[in-house]
Protein backbone atom coordinates (compact mmCIF):
# COMPACT_ATOMS: atom_id res chain seq x y z
CA UNK A 1 0.00 0.00 0.00
CA UNK A 2 1.25 3.49 -0.86
CA UNK A 3 1.59 5.97 1.96
CA UNK A 4 2.07 9.73 1.83
CA UNK A 5 2.77 12.12 4.67
CA UNK A 6 0.28 14.99 5.05
CA UNK A 7 3.05 17.53 4.55
CA UNK A 8 4.17 15.92 1.29
CA UNK A 9 0.60 15.80 0.02
CA UNK A 10 0.19 19.47 0.91
CA UNK A 11 3.30 20.43 -1.05
CA UNK A 12 2.25 18.36 -4.01
CA UNK A 13 -1.19 20.02 -4.00
CA UNK A 14 0.45 23.42 -3.92
CA UNK A 15 2.26 22.56 -7.15
CA UNK A 16 -0.63 20.94 -8.94
CA UNK A 17 -2.98 23.73 -7.83
CA UNK A 18 -1.30 26.01 -10.33
CA UNK A 19 -2.58 23.92 -13.20
CA UNK A 20 -5.91 22.77 -11.78
CA UNK A 21 -8.72 24.44 -9.94
CA UNK A 22 -8.99 22.71 -6.59
CA UNK A 23 -12.36 22.00 -5.02
CA UNK A 24 -12.56 20.59 -1.53
CA UNK A 25 -14.68 20.58 1.60
CA UNK A 26 -14.34 23.94 3.36
CA UNK A 27 -15.98 25.34 6.47
CA UNK A 28 -18.19 28.34 5.90
CA UNK A 29 -20.17 29.85 8.75
CA UNK A 30 -19.94 26.58 10.61
CA UNK A 31 -21.16 24.55 7.64
CA UNK A 32 -19.04 22.14 5.58
CA UNK A 33 -19.42 22.67 1.83
CA UNK A 34 -17.61 21.47 -1.29
CA UNK A 35 -16.30 24.69 -2.82
CA UNK A 36 -13.45 25.83 -5.06
CA UNK A 37 -10.61 26.86 -2.77
CA UNK A 38 -8.21 29.80 -2.90
CA UNK A 39 -5.77 28.47 -0.33
CA UNK A 40 -4.84 24.97 0.80
CA UNK A 41 -5.43 26.09 4.39
CA UNK A 42 -9.16 26.17 3.66
CA UNK A 43 -9.31 22.39 3.09
CA UNK A 44 -11.11 20.49 5.81
CA UNK A 45 -9.68 17.03 6.41
CA UNK A 46 -11.80 15.91 9.34
CA UNK A 47 -15.50 16.02 8.54
CA UNK A 48 -18.46 13.72 8.09
CA UNK A 49 -19.93 14.95 4.81
CA UNK A 50 -20.44 18.34 3.19
CA UNK A 51 -23.99 19.68 3.16
CA UNK A 52 -23.97 19.93 -0.65
CA UNK A 53 -23.02 17.12 -2.98
CA UNK A 54 -20.13 17.15 -5.45
CA UNK A 55 -22.57 16.93 -8.38
CA UNK A 56 -22.70 20.70 -8.65
CA UNK A 57 -19.13 20.83 -9.96
CA UNK A 58 -20.25 18.79 -12.97
CA UNK A 59 -23.90 19.81 -13.12
CA UNK A 60 -24.06 23.31 -11.65
CA UNK A 61 -27.16 24.82 -10.09
CA UNK A 62 -27.23 27.20 -13.04
CA UNK A 63 -25.01 27.08 -16.09
CA UNK A 64 -24.85 28.84 -19.42
CA UNK A 65 -25.18 26.42 -22.35
CA UNK A 66 -25.10 28.97 -25.14
CA UNK A 67 -24.83 32.68 -25.73
CA UNK A 68 -27.39 34.02 -28.15
CA UNK A 69 -27.08 37.14 -30.24
CA UNK A 70 -30.55 38.05 -31.42
CA UNK A 71 -30.67 40.67 -34.13
CA UNK A 72 -34.18 40.03 -35.38
CA UNK A 73 -33.09 40.49 -39.01
CA UNK A 74 -32.49 36.84 -39.81
CA UNK A 75 -28.87 36.76 -38.67
CA UNK A 76 -29.14 35.48 -35.11
CA UNK A 77 -26.06 33.73 -33.79
CA UNK A 78 -25.56 30.93 -31.30
CA UNK A 79 -22.28 30.45 -29.47
CA UNK A 80 -21.68 27.33 -27.44
CA UNK A 81 -20.12 27.83 -24.02
CA UNK A 82 -18.23 24.60 -23.37
CA UNK A 83 -16.47 24.49 -19.98
CA UNK A 84 -12.71 24.06 -20.22
CA UNK A 85 -11.57 24.41 -16.63
CA UNK A 86 -9.47 21.56 -15.24
CA UNK A 87 -10.55 20.45 -11.79
CA UNK A 88 -9.13 18.37 -9.01
CA UNK A 89 -11.76 17.43 -6.49
CA UNK A 90 -10.27 16.69 -3.12
CA UNK A 91 -11.66 14.73 -0.23
CA UNK A 92 -14.71 13.53 -2.11
CA UNK A 93 -16.73 11.13 0.00
CA UNK A 94 -17.42 7.66 -1.45
CA UNK A 95 -21.17 8.33 -1.62
CA UNK A 96 -20.53 11.43 -3.75
CA UNK A 97 -18.17 9.60 -6.10
CA UNK A 98 -20.76 6.84 -6.34
CA UNK A 99 -23.31 9.52 -7.24
CA UNK A 100 -21.12 10.63 -10.13
CA UNK A 101 -21.16 7.07 -11.37
CA UNK A 102 -24.99 7.26 -11.42
CA UNK A 103 -24.96 10.57 -13.27
CA UNK A 104 -22.42 9.20 -15.77
CA UNK A 105 -24.87 6.45 -16.74
CA UNK A 106 -27.41 9.04 -17.84
CA UNK A 107 -25.37 12.10 -18.89
CA UNK A 108 -22.47 10.22 -20.55
CA UNK A 109 -23.24 6.63 -21.38
CA UNK A 110 -26.81 7.03 -22.58
CA UNK A 111 -26.72 8.44 -26.11
CA UNK A 112 -26.49 11.30 -26.91
CA UNK A 113 -23.95 12.36 -24.28
CA UNK A 114 -24.33 15.74 -22.61
CA UNK A 115 -21.32 17.74 -23.80
CA UNK A 116 -21.32 20.11 -20.82
CA UNK A 117 -21.26 17.37 -18.22
CA UNK A 118 -18.82 15.37 -20.35
CA UNK A 119 -16.40 18.28 -20.68
CA UNK A 120 -16.30 18.83 -16.92
CA UNK A 121 -16.00 15.13 -16.22
CA UNK A 122 -13.17 14.70 -18.72
CA UNK A 123 -11.30 17.67 -17.27
CA UNK A 124 -11.57 16.49 -13.69
CA UNK A 125 -9.73 14.19 -11.35
CA UNK A 126 -11.72 12.79 -8.46
CA UNK A 127 -9.59 12.30 -5.40
CA UNK A 128 -11.69 10.58 -2.78
CA UNK A 129 -11.32 10.32 0.95
CA UNK A 130 -12.64 7.16 2.57
CA UNK A 131 -14.85 7.44 5.62
CA UNK A 132 -13.60 6.26 8.99
CA UNK A 133 -17.15 5.79 10.21
CA UNK A 134 -20.74 6.11 9.05
CA UNK A 135 -22.61 9.19 10.21
CA UNK A 136 -26.01 9.19 11.88
CA UNK A 137 -27.98 9.56 8.66
CA UNK A 138 -25.61 7.52 6.45
CA UNK A 139 -26.85 4.28 4.91
CA UNK A 140 -24.49 3.71 1.97
CA UNK A 141 -23.96 0.08 2.90
CA UNK A 142 -27.68 -0.60 2.40
CA UNK A 143 -27.64 0.59 -1.21
CA UNK A 144 -24.45 -0.97 -2.53
CA UNK A 145 -21.82 1.46 -1.24
CA UNK A 146 -19.46 1.47 1.69
CA UNK A 147 -17.18 3.84 3.62
CA UNK A 148 -14.30 2.51 1.55
CA UNK A 149 -16.13 2.34 -1.80
CA UNK A 150 -13.90 3.53 -4.70
CA UNK A 151 -16.54 3.66 -7.47
CA UNK A 152 -16.28 6.93 -9.41
CA UNK A 153 -12.86 7.90 -8.01
CA UNK A 154 -9.50 8.22 -9.73
CA UNK A 155 -7.62 8.13 -6.46
CA UNK A 156 -8.67 7.28 -2.94
CA UNK A 157 -6.97 8.53 0.17
CA UNK A 158 -7.54 6.98 3.58
CA UNK A 159 -6.40 8.69 6.76
CA UNK A 160 -3.57 6.72 8.34
CA UNK A 161 -1.45 7.95 11.26
CA UNK A 162 0.11 11.30 10.24
CA UNK A 163 -0.68 10.90 6.57
CA UNK A 164 -2.75 8.98 4.03
CA UNK A 165 -2.85 5.65 2.30
CA UNK A 166 -3.11 6.23 -1.45
CA UNK A 167 -4.94 3.97 -3.89
CA UNK A 168 -4.43 4.85 -7.55
CA UNK A 169 -7.55 3.56 -9.27
CA UNK A 170 -7.49 4.77 -12.87
CA UNK A 171 -4.83 5.57 -15.49
CA UNK A 172 -5.69 9.26 -14.94
CA UNK A 173 -4.99 8.86 -11.25
CA UNK A 174 -1.78 6.99 -11.90
CA UNK A 175 -0.52 9.55 -14.39
CA UNK A 176 -1.34 12.51 -12.20
CA UNK A 177 0.26 11.00 -9.15
CA UNK A 178 3.33 9.62 -10.88
CA UNK A 179 5.51 12.18 -9.13
CA UNK A 180 3.76 11.88 -5.79
CA UNK A 181 6.29 11.21 -3.05
CA UNK A 182 4.77 8.03 -1.72
CA UNK A 183 6.40 5.17 0.10
CA UNK A 184 5.32 1.56 -0.13
CA UNK A 185 4.50 0.02 3.20
CA UNK A 186 2.80 -3.10 4.41
CA UNK A 187 -0.05 -1.73 6.47
CA UNK A 188 -2.86 -3.48 8.28
CA UNK A 189 -5.93 -1.30 7.86
CA UNK A 190 -8.71 -1.40 10.37
CA UNK A 191 -12.13 -1.70 8.75
CA UNK A 192 -14.24 1.38 9.19
CA UNK A 193 -17.22 1.19 11.46
CA UNK A 194 -20.29 0.11 9.52
CA UNK A 195 -23.87 0.41 10.69
CA UNK A 196 -26.60 -2.16 10.39
CA UNK A 197 -28.43 -2.35 7.09
CA UNK A 198 -31.76 -0.82 6.16
CA UNK A 199 -33.89 -3.10 4.01
CA UNK A 200 -34.12 -2.02 0.36
CA UNK A 201 -37.44 -2.95 -1.25
CA UNK A 202 -37.14 -5.16 -4.29
CA UNK A 203 -38.82 -4.63 -7.64
CA UNK A 204 -41.86 -6.68 -6.76
CA UNK A 205 -42.50 -4.78 -3.51
CA UNK A 206 -42.01 -1.44 -5.23
CA UNK A 207 -44.43 -2.26 -8.04
CA UNK A 208 -47.02 -3.48 -5.56
CA UNK A 209 -46.56 -0.37 -3.43
CA UNK A 210 -47.78 1.95 -6.16
CA UNK A 211 -51.32 2.26 -4.85
CA UNK A 212 -50.36 1.87 -1.21
CA UNK A 213 -51.69 4.24 1.45
CA UNK A 214 -48.10 4.60 2.60
CA UNK A 215 -47.46 7.42 0.13
CA UNK A 216 -50.33 9.49 1.46
CA UNK A 217 -49.26 8.97 5.05
CA UNK A 218 -45.65 9.85 4.27
CA UNK A 219 -46.45 12.81 2.04
CA UNK A 220 -48.74 14.46 4.56
CA UNK A 221 -45.90 16.39 6.15
CA UNK A 222 -43.99 17.10 2.91
CA UNK A 223 -43.99 20.83 2.11
CA UNK A 224 -42.69 20.36 -1.48
CA UNK A 225 -39.65 22.52 -0.71
CA UNK A 226 -37.41 20.37 -2.96
CA UNK A 227 -34.33 20.55 -0.74
CA UNK A 228 -34.09 16.74 -0.91
CA UNK A 229 -33.45 16.96 -4.65
CA UNK A 230 -31.01 19.84 -4.43
CA UNK A 231 -28.71 18.15 -1.90
CA UNK A 232 -29.00 14.74 -3.58
CA UNK A 233 -25.86 13.54 -5.40
CA UNK A 234 -27.96 11.88 -8.12
CA UNK A 235 -31.09 14.03 -8.59
CA UNK A 236 -30.58 15.56 -11.98
CA UNK A 237 -33.89 17.00 -13.20
CA UNK A 238 -33.42 20.34 -14.89
CA UNK A 239 -35.09 23.17 -16.71
CA UNK A 240 -33.73 25.09 -19.69
CA UNK A 241 -34.67 28.63 -20.60
CA UNK A 242 -33.29 31.82 -22.12
CA UNK A 243 -32.37 34.81 -20.04
CA UNK A 244 -31.95 38.20 -21.70
CA UNK A 245 -28.77 39.78 -20.34
CA UNK A 246 -28.34 42.88 -22.48
CA UNK A 247 -28.61 44.46 -25.86
CA UNK A 248 -28.75 47.69 -27.79
CA UNK A 249 -29.92 49.06 -31.12
CA UNK A 250 -32.53 46.38 -31.60
CA UNK A 251 -30.08 43.58 -30.82
CA UNK A 252 -30.60 41.40 -27.77
CA UNK A 253 -28.08 39.29 -25.94
CA UNK A 254 -29.41 36.28 -24.12
CA UNK A 255 -28.03 33.21 -22.44
CA UNK A 256 -29.59 29.81 -22.79
CA UNK A 257 -29.31 28.55 -19.25
CA UNK A 258 -29.88 25.24 -17.54
CA UNK A 259 -30.84 25.11 -13.88
CA UNK A 260 -31.79 22.46 -11.35
CA UNK A 261 -35.37 21.42 -10.99
CA UNK A 262 -37.20 18.88 -8.88
CA UNK A 263 -40.07 16.48 -9.41
CA UNK A 264 -41.49 17.71 -6.09
CA UNK A 265 -42.65 20.97 -7.62
CA UNK A 266 -46.35 21.35 -8.29
CA UNK A 267 -45.94 22.49 -11.91
CA UNK A 268 -43.38 19.84 -12.76
CA UNK A 269 -45.67 17.63 -14.85
CA UNK A 270 -48.36 20.17 -15.76
CA UNK A 271 -48.77 20.34 -19.52
CA UNK A 272 -49.72 23.29 -21.69
CA UNK A 273 -53.48 22.69 -21.54
CA UNK A 274 -53.38 22.63 -17.74
CA UNK A 275 -53.65 18.87 -17.20
CA UNK A 276 -51.41 17.72 -14.35
CA UNK A 277 -51.00 13.97 -13.88
CA UNK A 278 -49.03 14.49 -10.66
CA UNK A 279 -51.05 17.25 -9.08
CA UNK A 280 -50.78 16.04 -5.49
CA UNK A 281 -47.67 15.84 -3.36
CA UNK A 282 -48.53 12.22 -2.67
CA UNK A 283 -47.93 11.40 -6.32
CA UNK A 284 -44.80 13.53 -6.37
CA UNK A 285 -43.24 11.92 -3.30
CA UNK A 286 -44.00 8.50 -4.74
CA UNK A 287 -42.35 9.50 -8.00
CA UNK A 288 -39.17 10.67 -6.27
CA UNK A 289 -38.78 7.53 -4.18
CA UNK A 290 -39.66 5.19 -7.05
CA UNK A 291 -37.26 7.09 -9.32
CA UNK A 292 -34.44 6.32 -6.89
CA UNK A 293 -35.35 2.69 -6.33
CA UNK A 294 -37.21 1.49 -9.42
CA UNK A 295 -37.36 3.87 -12.40
CA UNK A 296 -33.67 4.76 -12.57
CA UNK A 297 -32.64 1.09 -12.19
CA UNK A 298 -35.03 0.23 -15.06
CA UNK A 299 -33.66 3.04 -17.22
CA UNK A 300 -29.94 3.00 -16.40
CA UNK A 301 -29.30 -0.25 -14.56
CA UNK A 302 -28.53 1.08 -11.08
CA UNK A 303 -30.16 2.54 -8.00
CA UNK A 304 -30.07 6.31 -7.93
CA UNK A 305 -29.78 6.47 -4.17
CA UNK A 306 -26.26 6.28 -2.78
CA UNK A 307 -27.21 6.33 0.89
CA UNK A 308 -25.54 9.63 1.77
CA UNK A 309 -28.49 10.61 3.97
CA UNK A 310 -28.36 14.27 2.93
CA UNK A 311 -32.09 14.35 2.17
CA UNK A 312 -32.69 13.15 5.73
CA UNK A 313 -30.37 15.79 7.21
CA UNK A 314 -31.78 18.62 5.10
CA UNK A 315 -35.52 17.92 5.30
CA UNK A 316 -37.23 20.60 7.38
CA UNK A 317 -40.08 18.28 8.31
CA UNK A 318 -38.08 15.16 9.12
CA UNK A 319 -38.89 12.96 6.16
CA UNK A 320 -36.64 9.94 5.98
CA UNK A 321 -36.18 7.73 2.93
CA UNK A 322 -34.87 4.88 5.10
CA UNK A 323 -38.13 4.98 7.04
CA UNK A 324 -40.05 4.76 3.76
CA UNK A 325 -37.89 1.84 2.62
CA UNK A 326 -38.43 0.07 5.93
CA UNK A 327 -42.19 0.56 5.81
CA UNK A 328 -42.24 -0.71 2.23
CA UNK A 329 -40.43 -3.88 3.19
CA UNK A 330 -41.73 -4.52 6.69
CA UNK A 331 -45.06 -2.70 6.74
CA UNK A 332 -45.93 0.19 9.08
CA UNK A 333 -44.38 0.00 12.55
Amino acid sequence: MNYIRQEDLHNWLADIGEEYRLTAPVEKDGVILYEPIQSLDEIVWDFEKPVNSIKEIFFPQTEILMELQISGNGSDEIKEVIPTEKNILLNVRPCDAHGLNCLDAMFLDDSPPDVYYAARRQNSVVMGLSCSHMGESCFCTSVGGSPGDTVGMDVMLSKYEEGFLVELLTPIGEALFSDLPVTEQVIEVESPFEKGLFPVPNEEILKKSFDSELWGMQAERCISCRICAYVCPTCRCFDIRDEVVGGSNGTKQANRIRCWDSCASEAYRRIAGGHNPRASKIERLRNRVLCKLYYYPQQYGMLSCVGCGRCIDACPVGMDITEIMSVLVEGPA
Partner: protein, 282 residues
Protein backbone atom coordinates in the same frame (compact mmCIF):
# COMPACT_ATOMS: atom_id res chain seq x y z
CA UNK B 1 -30.18 16.42 -38.52
CA UNK B 2 -28.64 15.52 -35.20
CA UNK B 3 -26.05 12.91 -35.92
CA UNK B 4 -25.29 11.40 -32.61
CA UNK B 5 -21.62 11.13 -31.87
CA UNK B 6 -19.47 12.35 -29.02
CA UNK B 7 -18.32 15.52 -30.71
CA UNK B 8 -21.77 16.87 -31.35
CA UNK B 9 -23.54 19.15 -28.97
CA UNK B 10 -27.02 17.67 -28.70
CA UNK B 11 -28.31 20.95 -27.25
CA UNK B 12 -27.37 23.06 -30.23
CA UNK B 13 -30.41 23.89 -32.38
CA UNK B 14 -30.31 24.25 -36.13
CA UNK B 15 -31.29 27.66 -37.34
CA UNK B 16 -34.51 27.75 -39.30
CA UNK B 17 -36.01 30.65 -41.21
CA UNK B 18 -39.76 31.12 -41.06
CA UNK B 19 -40.94 30.96 -44.66
CA UNK B 20 -44.67 31.32 -44.07
CA UNK B 21 -47.18 31.76 -41.27
CA UNK B 22 -50.82 30.68 -41.57
CA UNK B 23 -53.59 31.14 -39.08
CA UNK B 24 -54.97 27.69 -38.30
CA UNK B 25 -57.47 28.86 -35.73
CA UNK B 26 -57.88 31.18 -32.76
CA UNK B 27 -54.40 31.60 -31.23
CA UNK B 28 -53.09 28.80 -33.44
CA UNK B 29 -50.53 29.37 -36.18
CA UNK B 30 -48.86 27.05 -38.63
CA UNK B 31 -45.20 27.97 -38.98
CA UNK B 32 -43.41 26.75 -42.05
CA UNK B 33 -39.68 26.65 -41.42
CA UNK B 34 -36.80 26.39 -43.83
CA UNK B 35 -33.63 25.15 -42.18
CA UNK B 36 -30.98 27.77 -42.77
CA UNK B 37 -27.77 26.11 -41.72
CA UNK B 38 -26.33 22.72 -42.57
CA UNK B 39 -26.50 21.01 -45.91
CA UNK B 40 -29.21 18.76 -47.18
CA UNK B 41 -31.31 19.00 -44.02
CA UNK B 42 -34.88 18.33 -44.84
CA UNK B 43 -37.80 16.81 -43.08
CA UNK B 44 -37.25 13.60 -45.02
CA UNK B 45 -35.53 12.55 -41.81
CA UNK B 46 -38.66 13.28 -39.78
CA UNK B 47 -40.98 10.31 -39.49
CA UNK B 48 -44.71 10.67 -38.72
CA UNK B 49 -45.13 11.03 -34.95
CA UNK B 50 -41.74 12.56 -34.20
CA UNK B 51 -41.25 15.98 -32.67
CA UNK B 52 -38.70 18.77 -32.37
CA UNK B 53 -37.83 21.48 -29.89
CA UNK B 54 -38.48 24.91 -31.33
CA UNK B 55 -36.60 27.90 -29.92
CA UNK B 56 -37.89 31.41 -29.67
CA UNK B 57 -34.47 32.94 -29.04
CA UNK B 58 -34.38 35.02 -25.90
CA UNK B 59 -37.31 33.17 -24.33
CA UNK B 60 -36.64 29.45 -24.58
CA UNK B 61 -37.61 26.28 -26.38
CA UNK B 62 -40.55 23.89 -26.25
CA UNK B 63 -41.46 20.60 -27.95
CA UNK B 64 -43.87 20.42 -30.90
CA UNK B 65 -45.01 17.49 -32.97
CA UNK B 66 -44.04 17.87 -36.57
CA UNK B 67 -47.21 18.69 -38.47
CA UNK B 68 -46.18 17.68 -41.97
CA UNK B 69 -44.11 15.21 -43.89
CA UNK B 70 -42.00 16.41 -46.79
CA UNK B 71 -43.23 19.67 -48.23
CA UNK B 72 -42.42 20.66 -51.80
CA UNK B 73 -39.56 22.93 -50.80
CA UNK B 74 -38.22 20.69 -48.04
CA UNK B 75 -39.61 22.79 -45.20
CA UNK B 76 -40.95 21.67 -41.84
CA UNK B 77 -44.31 22.68 -40.43
CA UNK B 78 -45.31 23.14 -36.80
CA UNK B 79 -48.73 23.99 -35.40
CA UNK B 80 -48.33 26.33 -32.47
CA UNK B 81 -51.06 27.32 -30.08
CA UNK B 82 -50.39 30.36 -27.92
CA UNK B 83 -50.42 29.12 -24.33
CA UNK B 84 -47.17 30.04 -22.59
CA UNK B 85 -44.01 32.14 -22.87
CA UNK B 86 -42.38 30.28 -25.74
CA UNK B 87 -45.52 29.93 -27.82
CA UNK B 88 -46.38 33.60 -27.25
CA UNK B 89 -42.92 34.60 -28.46
CA UNK B 90 -43.23 32.31 -31.50
CA UNK B 91 -46.56 33.95 -32.33
CA UNK B 92 -44.87 37.35 -32.39
CA UNK B 93 -42.33 36.31 -35.04
CA UNK B 94 -42.66 37.25 -38.69
CA UNK B 95 -41.71 35.66 -42.01
CA UNK B 96 -37.93 35.83 -42.34
CA UNK B 97 -37.24 35.58 -38.61
CA UNK B 98 -35.02 32.82 -37.30
CA UNK B 99 -36.03 30.13 -34.87
CA UNK B 100 -34.12 27.15 -33.50
CA UNK B 101 -35.01 23.58 -34.47
CA UNK B 102 -33.66 20.67 -32.45
CA UNK B 103 -34.77 17.31 -33.81
CA UNK B 104 -36.07 14.95 -35.05
CA UNK B 105 -36.71 13.49 -31.60
CA UNK B 106 -38.62 10.53 -30.24
CA UNK B 107 -39.97 7.45 -31.93
CA UNK B 108 -42.55 7.42 -34.70
CA UNK B 109 -45.67 5.64 -35.80
CA UNK B 110 -44.67 2.19 -37.11
CA UNK B 111 -45.94 2.97 -40.61
CA UNK B 112 -44.47 -0.18 -42.15
CA UNK B 113 -46.10 -2.35 -39.51
CA UNK B 114 -49.42 -0.65 -40.25
CA UNK B 115 -49.35 -1.61 -43.93
CA UNK B 116 -52.37 -3.54 -45.24
CA UNK B 117 -54.38 -2.41 -42.20
CA UNK B 118 -57.50 -0.30 -42.06
CA UNK B 119 -56.58 2.85 -40.15
CA UNK B 120 -58.79 4.84 -37.80
CA UNK B 121 -57.14 8.20 -37.09
CA UNK B 122 -58.66 10.18 -34.21
CA UNK B 123 -57.50 13.73 -33.60
CA UNK B 124 -58.73 16.22 -31.03
CA UNK B 125 -57.88 19.92 -31.30
CA UNK B 126 -54.21 20.68 -31.81
CA UNK B 127 -53.60 17.00 -31.05
CA UNK B 128 -54.39 16.51 -34.70
CA UNK B 129 -51.05 18.05 -35.67
CA UNK B 130 -48.85 14.95 -35.25
CA UNK B 131 -51.52 12.86 -37.01
CA UNK B 132 -51.48 14.97 -40.16
CA UNK B 133 -48.19 13.36 -41.33
CA UNK B 134 -49.85 9.94 -40.91
CA UNK B 135 -52.67 10.97 -43.22
CA UNK B 136 -50.18 12.45 -45.69
CA UNK B 137 -48.07 9.31 -45.56
CA UNK B 138 -51.09 7.12 -46.31
CA UNK B 139 -52.01 9.41 -49.17
CA UNK B 140 -48.50 9.16 -50.62
CA UNK B 141 -48.51 5.36 -50.26
CA UNK B 142 -52.19 4.77 -50.85
CA UNK B 143 -52.05 1.20 -52.15
CA UNK B 144 -50.14 0.00 -49.07
CA UNK B 145 -53.00 0.67 -46.64
CA UNK B 146 -56.65 -0.35 -46.32
CA UNK B 147 -59.56 1.94 -45.53
CA UNK B 148 -58.67 5.25 -43.87
CA UNK B 149 -61.21 6.65 -41.40
CA UNK B 150 -60.45 10.07 -39.96
CA UNK B 151 -62.35 11.38 -36.96
CA UNK B 152 -61.50 14.99 -36.31
CA UNK B 153 -62.77 17.06 -33.41
CA UNK B 154 -62.41 20.51 -31.91
CA UNK B 155 -64.19 22.69 -29.44
CA UNK B 156 -65.59 24.95 -32.21
CA UNK B 157 -65.57 25.03 -36.02
CA UNK B 158 -62.83 27.66 -36.01
CA UNK B 159 -60.68 25.39 -33.84
CA UNK B 160 -60.81 22.52 -36.34
CA UNK B 161 -57.23 21.99 -37.45
CA UNK B 162 -56.07 22.00 -41.10
CA UNK B 163 -59.44 22.90 -42.63
CA UNK B 164 -57.73 23.62 -45.94
CA UNK B 165 -56.70 19.97 -46.13
CA UNK B 166 -60.17 18.47 -45.81
CA UNK B 167 -61.00 18.51 -49.49
CA UNK B 168 -57.79 16.71 -50.39
CA UNK B 169 -58.28 14.23 -47.54
CA UNK B 170 -61.79 13.47 -48.78
CA UNK B 171 -60.35 12.87 -52.21
CA UNK B 172 -57.94 10.21 -50.97
CA UNK B 173 -59.40 6.92 -52.30
CA UNK B 174 -61.14 4.72 -49.75
CA UNK B 175 -61.11 7.47 -47.13
CA UNK B 176 -63.80 8.91 -44.87
CA UNK B 177 -63.48 12.14 -42.94
CA UNK B 178 -65.83 12.74 -40.01
CA UNK B 179 -65.89 16.06 -38.18
CA UNK B 180 -67.42 17.10 -34.91
CA UNK B 181 -67.35 20.20 -32.71
CA UNK B 182 -68.36 20.74 -29.10
CA UNK B 183 -69.80 24.21 -29.74
CA UNK B 184 -71.28 24.92 -33.21
CA UNK B 185 -71.46 28.38 -34.74
CA UNK B 186 -74.25 29.70 -36.99
CA UNK B 187 -72.78 28.22 -40.14
CA UNK B 188 -71.94 24.77 -38.80
CA UNK B 189 -74.19 22.05 -40.15
CA UNK B 190 -72.07 19.07 -39.19
CA UNK B 191 -71.96 16.82 -36.15
CA UNK B 192 -72.10 18.42 -32.74
CA UNK B 193 -70.78 16.60 -29.71
CA UNK B 194 -67.76 14.90 -28.22
CA UNK B 195 -65.51 12.75 -30.34
CA UNK B 196 -66.64 9.70 -28.38
CA UNK B 197 -70.20 10.29 -29.60
CA UNK B 198 -68.92 10.58 -33.16
CA UNK B 199 -66.82 7.44 -32.73
CA UNK B 200 -69.85 5.59 -31.40
CA UNK B 201 -71.88 6.71 -34.39
CA UNK B 202 -69.23 5.91 -37.02
CA UNK B 203 -68.64 2.60 -35.26
CA UNK B 204 -65.49 1.58 -37.18
CA UNK B 205 -64.82 -2.12 -37.47
CA UNK B 206 -61.88 -3.37 -35.47
CA UNK B 207 -61.28 -6.12 -38.01
CA UNK B 208 -57.76 -5.85 -39.40
CA UNK B 209 -57.75 -2.29 -38.10
CA UNK B 210 -55.43 -0.05 -36.14
CA UNK B 211 -56.57 3.06 -34.27
CA UNK B 212 -54.28 6.05 -33.74
CA UNK B 213 -55.36 8.71 -31.28
CA UNK B 214 -53.97 12.07 -30.23
CA UNK B 215 -55.57 14.90 -28.34
CA UNK B 216 -55.94 16.23 -24.82
CA UNK B 217 -55.33 13.50 -22.17
CA UNK B 218 -59.01 13.39 -21.20
CA UNK B 219 -60.02 12.87 -24.83
CA UNK B 220 -57.43 10.13 -25.31
CA UNK B 221 -58.66 8.43 -22.15
CA UNK B 222 -62.32 8.26 -23.19
CA UNK B 223 -61.74 7.67 -26.90
CA UNK B 224 -59.39 4.83 -26.06
CA UNK B 225 -61.88 3.31 -23.66
CA UNK B 226 -64.51 3.32 -26.39
CA UNK B 227 -62.10 1.84 -28.93
CA UNK B 228 -61.50 -0.98 -26.51
CA UNK B 229 -65.27 -1.56 -26.27
CA UNK B 230 -65.46 -1.55 -30.08
CA UNK B 231 -63.09 -4.52 -30.10
CA UNK B 232 -59.74 -2.85 -30.78
CA UNK B 233 -57.17 -4.85 -28.82
CA UNK B 234 -54.50 -2.89 -26.88
CA UNK B 235 -51.76 -3.70 -29.41
CA UNK B 236 -53.98 -2.29 -32.17
CA UNK B 237 -54.53 1.01 -30.37
CA UNK B 238 -51.75 3.58 -30.72
CA UNK B 239 -51.57 6.91 -28.95
CA UNK B 240 -49.07 9.73 -29.01
CA UNK B 241 -48.69 11.19 -25.53
CA UNK B 242 -47.87 14.68 -24.43
CA UNK B 243 -45.66 15.48 -21.46
CA UNK B 244 -43.89 18.55 -20.23
CA UNK B 245 -40.24 18.20 -21.16
CA UNK B 246 -37.07 20.24 -21.45
CA UNK B 247 -34.68 18.06 -23.42
CA UNK B 248 -36.27 15.45 -25.67
CA UNK B 249 -33.24 13.19 -25.27
CA UNK B 250 -33.78 11.38 -21.96
CA UNK B 251 -31.80 13.75 -19.74
CA UNK B 252 -34.01 16.27 -17.97
CA UNK B 253 -36.15 13.66 -16.22
CA UNK B 254 -39.29 15.71 -16.67
CA UNK B 255 -41.45 13.57 -18.92
CA UNK B 256 -41.39 10.27 -17.10
CA UNK B 257 -44.53 8.20 -16.80
CA UNK B 258 -43.30 5.71 -14.26
CA UNK B 259 -40.21 4.03 -15.67
CA UNK B 260 -40.82 5.28 -19.21
CA UNK B 261 -39.68 8.56 -20.71
CA UNK B 262 -42.15 10.03 -23.19
CA UNK B 263 -39.32 11.73 -25.10
CA UNK B 264 -37.22 8.68 -25.92
CA UNK B 265 -39.50 5.70 -25.28
CA UNK B 266 -42.34 7.58 -27.01
CA UNK B 267 -44.14 9.79 -27.75
CA UNK B 268 -45.86 7.01 -29.74
CA UNK B 269 -46.99 4.05 -27.66
CA UNK B 270 -49.35 1.16 -28.19
CA UNK B 271 -51.89 0.77 -25.44
CA UNK B 272 -50.48 -2.60 -24.40
CA UNK B 273 -47.29 -0.69 -23.53
CA UNK B 274 -49.21 2.08 -21.78
CA UNK B 275 -51.25 -0.40 -19.76
CA UNK B 276 -48.01 -1.87 -18.41
CA UNK B 277 -46.59 1.47 -17.25
CA UNK B 278 -46.44 1.55 -13.47
CA UNK B 279 -47.88 5.08 -13.53
CA UNK B 280 -50.91 6.23 -15.49
CA UNK B 281 -50.56 8.89 -18.20
CA UNK B 282 -53.83 10.52 -17.21
Amino acid sequence: MITRNLNDNCWLPHLGKISSIDNLGPEIKLLRVHLANGNGHSNEEFQPGQFAFISAFGVGEAPFGIASILTDDGSLEFAIQRLGNVTTALHELAVGDLIGVRGPLGNSFPMEKLEDKNLVVIGGGIGGAPLRPVIQYVNNNRNKFGELTILWAARSPSHLMFREDYESWRNIPNTNLHLTVDQPDDEWDGHVGLITELLDQVNPSSKNAIAITCGPPVMIFYADKLLSELGFSPDNRYVTLEARMHCGIGKCGRCNIGEKLVCVDGPVFSMDEVENFLEGYF
